[in-house]
Amino acid sequence: MPDIIFMLLLFFMVATTLRERDVYVKFKLPEAVAIQKIENKRLISYIWVGKSGKIQLNDNLVLVEDIQDIMYKKRVELPNVIVSLRIDKESNMGVVHDIQQELRKADARRINYSAMLKQ
């Protein structure tokens, strides 16, 4: 019995990524078919864009202009950072484009439009 529990424990310890982030914006992801998984969770930085157009980068609400600085620092620490864009599906492309421009300036160019699998 303790062996089995130990095994379960080990499994969860390995599979876990600690510290879930608090999300301050409301969003609903779009659905898509040709989606891929991101294997390495530790490489990901998240950007949320909510229904109201608020932008959250990792743990804080930010303005579009701030993204470049923050992401540049992040990229120096973690050269192959992937930015996961969790954008509400009713957003406009304008804000998406602004964020992309900032990311390009920060040279964090690997992005991933987060989407759910269409059933």
Binding site: E20, N92, H97, R110, N112, Y113, S114, A115
Partner: protein
């Protein structure tokens, strides 16, 4: 005969009765704090940022380019013709296939252009269609060239598939609103 009585050794033991309790507690902690769901989505590499003054105009021949425009009303244009989003992949597939054996400078470039007010969901649906058509073509190619599924290929073979059918998507900048 004198029997020497063996001194009874005192057994040393680490008390482990409480161990399983601790392990249980740890297990519960990890169970609760775990999130196993993986992040899924459409991956893309943005182009390098070049300041407007240094931007160069690179001419692109017309048969290499498939331009997809989505306006703010949700109308989708593929090379100037109105098209429904679910049809995009059917239209693109033959065009991608026809360029498999051409040199890398002649592969298809798909340019996606939106307005600032285009709905994000539409953009993702269109991008999804493009990605889908590429993955279909790659699958078909790996089946015909190696008689294997894409996920069973060796790294070299994957590389070959990717050089034969590179995914080139160009995200054009939306036009400024005047």
């Amino acid at each position: 005969m004198v029997q020497i009585k063996k001194k009874k050794e005192i057994e040393a033991k680490i008390p482990d009765a409480g161990m399983s309790d601790i392990v249980f507690l740890l297990l519960l902690f990890f169970l609760v704090s775990t999130t196993i769901d993986v992040d899924t989505g459409i991956g893309l590499s943005l182009p390098e940022y070049i300041p407007p003054e240094e931007q160069e105009f690179v001419p692109l021949s017309k048969d290499r380019l498939a331009s997809l425009n989505i306006n703010e009303n949700g109308d989708v244009l593929l090379d100037g013709d109105i098209i429904a989003i679910p049809q995009i992949s059917e239209k693109l597939k033959p065009r991608i296939e026809s360029k498999i054996n051409l040199p890398s400078k002649k592969k298809l470039v798909i340019s996606v252009k939106t307005d600032r007010k285009t709905n994000y969901n539409l953009y993702i649906q269109a991008l999804d269609q493009i990605k889908f058509s590429y993955s279909e073509v790659q699958k078909a190619y790996s089946q015909s060239a190696y008689a294997k599924k894409l996920e069973d290929l060796t790294p070299e073979e994957v590389k070959d598939v990717k050089t034969k059918i590179p995914i080139i998507i160009s995200i054009a900048e939306p036009e400024q609103i005047k």
